[in-house]
């Protein structure tokens, strides 16, 4: 696989980042201390390069009906300017990817337009899958991933920081923007104000924004945001902090909690699946059968949160035991920087998935006590 570099690679190098491969991309893992970056996002703000994420535009008279067919959620019910978290599944109900779909203003009467944002490692697969599924619909599917950068500002100070780059007459667009909504906002980059798509979404459990920007302007926007956040505690943050932040917020990571071998009901994403929506969708029959069988509630395994009693953390793929018997497997785990104790997500047999159940994680041969706790582990004070 050839290595991909985002338009911000030089910025990261200059800032002293150490890099890691993620989904075929060389991404900043951390700049100095991933703990400091984590805490900055919880207390002030962090700046993330998410340009490895995909951007697929779906446009046409049947765009809504097509996305209702291609994804498991009822995308046709999303209002212009709003967004929805959904899944793209196989016929057998396995998860190809989890993604966010933004409904954008109609470019013309009778035509709908959506932006679908898949994960980095799945972007090409999702674009191809959407194209194949679109054959019977009057839509165009355009993969803009290669030309689009994505920069996120996350943390309690992110609104104030972003506002410094927005003309005063447009401030209300940003301050009035709801969670899981997006709007075109004028942002000062390189001395000129450009209309950029700004979404109030994130993967950290904090307030924050994700800004879509053409590759060419991404370095200037990155520098402008860093400068704007200088007095507000903003630091560039890498994938290590992103992972610990999303884990505390109980958000699944594709490849860890989600895969083609996992279904929405076991993953606790049953509410994301709309079996009631009109018409067929890919994976519907399988998902209906899985739900009817009680997978994730009365049979099979279920994704749970685990809180450690000691100081040692469980890690992905560690066995989960009940009285020495294997009852599950950790998908993500580490010491929680915010909470100060080890946390983990794990798939466990449903009979041991009740909150309060005491289990062990096999930590390289030594069992360590963990208790099933509700997700998310961390919820911000609003």
């Amino acid at each position: 696989m050839t290595e991909n570099y985002t338009a911000l690679f030089e910025q990261h190098k200059k800032a002293g980042a150490s890099f890691t491969d993620f989904g075929g991309w060389q991404m900043p893992l951390k700049y100095e201390s991933e703990l400091a970056e984590h805490h900055a996002v919880r207390k002030a703000a962090g700046l993330f390069d998410l340009s490895h994420m995909g951007e697929v535009w779906v446009t046409g008279p049947e765009a809504a009906a097509f996305l209702d067919y291609a994804l498991v959620g009822k995308i046709s019910a999303v209002a212009i300017g709003k967004a929805k978290y959904s899944l793209i599944c196989n016929e057998d109900g396995g998860i190809i990817d989890d993604l966010i779909t933004y409904r954008r203003p109609s470019p013309e009467e009778g035509v709908d337009r959506y932006l679908v944002v898949p994960n980095a490692g799945n972007a090409a697969v999702v674009a191809k899958e959407l194209l194949e599924r679109s054959a019977a619909f009057d839509v165009t599917v355009e993969d803009a991933s290669a030309n689009t950068s994505l920069i996120a500002v996350q943390g309690p100070n992110s609104e104030a920081i972003l506002l410094t780059l927005v003309p005063a007459e447009q401030h209300a667009l940003l301050t009035g923007l709801k969670y899981y909504a997006a709007v075109e906002v004028g942002i000062a980059v390189n001395g000129t104000v450009q209309d950029l798509l700004v979404a109030r979404t994130g993967y950290t459990g904090e307030d924050g924004f994700e800004i879509y920007v053409p590759n060419l302007d991404a370095p200037a926007l990155w520098e402008a945001l860093l400068q704007a956040g200088e007095g507000s505690g903003l630091v560039p943050a890498g994938l290590a902090a992103r992972d610990s932040l999303r884990l505390e917020a109980g958000m699944p990571l594709y490849g860890n909690e989600l895969s083609r071998y996992v279904n929405a009901y076991a993953a606790g994403l049953g509410p994301v699946v709309s079996l009631a929506k009109e018409g067929d969708f890919v994976g519907k029959d399988a998902l209906a059968a899985i739900k009817a069988a009680g997978v994730g509630s009365t049979i099979g395994q279920k994704l749970v949160g685990l809180k450690g009693a000691g100081r040692r953390a469980g890690r992905a793929h560690y066995p989960v035991l009940k009285d020495g018997t294997l009852v599950g497997e950790v998908t993500s785990g580490q010491p929680s920087p915010t909470l100060g104790y080890p946390i983990a997500m794990a798939y466990v047999e449903v009979e041991f998935a009740e909150v309060g159940t005491v289990l062990d994680i096999d930590l390289r041969g030594k069992p360590e006590r963990f208790e099933v706790v509700p997700l998310p582990f961390y919820k911000r004070q609003k």
Partner: protein
């Protein structure tokens, strides 16, 4: 670039050893390893009085991102452990060759060790 201290010897598993011949040898992990591990949050050290064997695991170092075994770079009896680093493992990141030392061993036999120059050349450290 991560610092490599000239006066120390190093194992392939990134432990440093301060062998001065006058008493038990101090042992820690190199700045190269500490940087690669990330912020260290937990350290499990061998007990005082136990015998460690060169090349064998004798504890572990856990960071936010990962966990690594600690390998004894020498054989001998553990005479002292650094309680400071047990209660504040971040010392390994901030001062890996000083306050972040891990334990001391009364050495009966050294494992295969590298000079600082050899270690730096092999691992991209800075002397």
């Amino acid at each position: 670039m991560a610092k490599v201290v000239a006066e120390l010897k190093y194992s392939a598993e990134h432990e440093w050893v301060a062998v001065d011949g006058s008493g038990p040898a101090g042992i820690g992990i190199s700045a190269v390893a500490a940087d690669a591990l990330g912020d260290i949050v937990y350290v499990d050290l061998p007990e005082v009085g136990s015998i460690v064997t060169a090349g064998e695991t004798c504890g572990e170092v856990e960071s936010t991102k990962s966990v690594s075994d600690l390998y004894a770079p020498v054989t001998g009896e553990v005479t002292e452990i650094n309680d400071g680093v047990v209660s504040d493992p971040a010392l390994i990141n901030s001062d890996p060759y000083g306050a972040g030392w891990l334990f001391k061993v009364s050495v009966t036999e050294e494992g295969p060790l590298m000079s600082a120059e050899e270690y730096a050349a092999a691992n991209g450290g800075e002397l």
